[in-house]
């Protein structure tokens, strides 16, 4: 029997997802022994041409990591789809856009200006920014061109399975790989993860207390037993899919939402906004005027960045829309 083929294809990623594979420890060896690597630039010396040469639909498992943020990753994503029997969006970036997706809060031009011209540590007197094509004396050099809007993998091609997390939790990686290698994959479209929220897996105690202020994580040391949200820290647990065993809240770090929206919600940020509004202030605010409420609400410093940290491209609004003429 021939071994199944595995390809791990990076988009706009940080290679953190690769680490989650290595974190499997001895199991990683088992997995790697059981497959033929078709393409994995992070670890194997295979080029994109090698991937292109393979027949369409021949790779049993393709893990695509990272968001789609330039025309090259877009092409690679389409290639991945063409060659894959099962395409798995691996990690928060591929599933929802992730951290690279936060580029959607600004326009392409302002990002390039900021990165290559305006930062204090940059010396760039001519204001040179990268262009797709550069002509030198007798040759033409091309580099990938940044897209106006960063997308998740699912917004470019059809995705068979989603494995969220930043990085994806080991338990889920092992589960997904075991299912893929044994040929017992769940129905297409499945998201590997719990059907419940992070709060459901969190051991911290909820007392249904209300909060009258919102604090930042560095301002105090939270009680290790009590719910972080009820201790005035914004924890994305209520709006985030479980499956990670609530590792962050367990370690006294508020959930940041890397597992994406809960199964029944369309928009992680809206869900969190709703949940937060139900905890902030009094249950019955008789005699409390608008200004007092606004003062508490104003303590949420960056609603977009907090509520959509990993999911901006996949949200209803997809991006911040600049002033248009």
């Amino acid at each position: 029997m021939t071994k199944p083929m595995l390809a791990i294809i990076p988009g706009a990623n940080c290679a953190g997802c690769d680490y989650s594979l290595l974190d499997l420890g001895e199991k990683a060896v088992e997995v790697l022994m059981a497959v033929n690597i078709a393409y994995w630039p992070t670890a194997a010396d295979l080029k994109l041409e090698d991937l292109e040469k393979l027949p369409d639909g021949s790779i049993d498992i393709v893990l695509f990591e990272g968001a789609v943020n330039n025309d090259e990753t877009e092409e690679v994503a389409k290639l991945a789809r063409k060659k894959a029997k099962n395409l798995i969006a691996f990690g928060a970036c591929a599933c929802f856009g992730g951290i690279p997706g936060l580029a959607n809060v600004a326009s392409k031009d302002s990002i390039l200006q900021k990165a290559y011209v305006k930062t204090l540590s940059t010396v760039n007197q001519q204001g040179t920014i990268p262009h797709k094509l550069t002509r030198l004396a007798d040759e033409e050099l091309t580099i990938p061109e940044f897209l106006e809007t960063v997308k998740s993998l699912g917004q470019v091609v059809n995705v068979d399975y989603y494995l969220p997390g930043c990085p994806p939790p080991l338990k889920l990686v092992a589960e997904a790989l075991a299912a893929a290698l044994s040929g017992k994959l769940p129905p297409k479209g499945t998201v590997f993860g719990s059907m419940k929220s992070v709060c459901d897996e969190c051991k911290r105690v909820r007392e249904n207390k209300r909060i009258m202020e919102i604090k930042r994580y560095h301002q105090f040391i939270p009680d290790p037993e009590r719910c972080l949200l009820e201790q005035s820290i914004i924890c994305m647990g209520p709006a985030t899919r479980g499956g990670c065993d609530a590792v962050c809240p367990t370690m006294s770090v508020p959930c940041r939402g890397c597992m994406g929206p809960t199964p029944e919600s369309q928009d992680q940020g809206a869900r969190m906004l709703s949940a937060l509004s139900s905890v902030v202030g009094l249950e019955v605010e008789t005699g409390v005027n608008d200004e007092e409420v606004r003062k508490i609400i104003a303590q949420v410093k960056d609603p977009l960045g907090t509520f959509y940290r990993y999911g901006l491209p996949k949200s209803i609004m997809r991006r911040a829309w600049g002033v248009r003429e």
């Binding site: 509004s277 139900s278 609400i297 949420v300 209803i316 609004m317 829309w321 248009r324």
Partner: protein, 146 residues
């Protein structure tokens, strides 16, 4: 656009006060602009922020959220929740590039037909000044590219 622009406005109204208030405006023959598309819910606290985001993403030029006056909520605390949601949502929408005046929260009781008509007129004028919401169009283009 300019002259011919007719704002599309989505109004969320609670069953007990605001919808009854609008009904009163109707039965009292008070005229108000036809730009409003009213959606009745049992309570303003039922308004999921997703509804408001979806409204803007699908081409609403303005969203008016109405509910019972503080202290009058049929379910005791629904309108207090809405107040906080709308305030937070206002800030979020601004970050998304939707101008502040496009989302508005008003308390309308069952006896305030005239007040509702005035709010409606005022809000329509305000949105007319702000101009059309272009996000829906841009979003459609964005999706079409995919």
């Amino acid at each position: 656009m300019g002259e011919n622009f007719e704002p599309k406005i989505v109004v969320f109204a609670c069953n007990w006060c605001s919808y009854a208030g609008m009904d009163l405006a109707g039965t009292s023959r008070i005229q108000y602009p036809h730009n409003l598309k009213v959606i009745r819910l049992m309570c303003s606290g039922r308004i999921n922020p997703v509804y408001i985001l979806e409204a803007f993403a699908n081409g609403a030029d303005g969203v008016l959220v109405t509910g019972c006056h503080p202290g009058d909520c049929h379910y005791i605390s629904g309108n207090y929740k809405t107040r906080k949601r709308v305030m937070l949502l206002e800030r979020l929408l601004e970050q998304f590039g939707i101008e502040k005046g496009r989302l508005r929260l008003e308390w309308v009781s069952a006896s305030e037909g005239e007040k509702f008509a005035n709010i409606a007129k005022e809000f329509v004028e305000q949105i007319r000044k702000l101009g059309p919401n272009r996000i829906a169009e841009e979003l459609r283009k964005e999706v079409a590219v995919v």
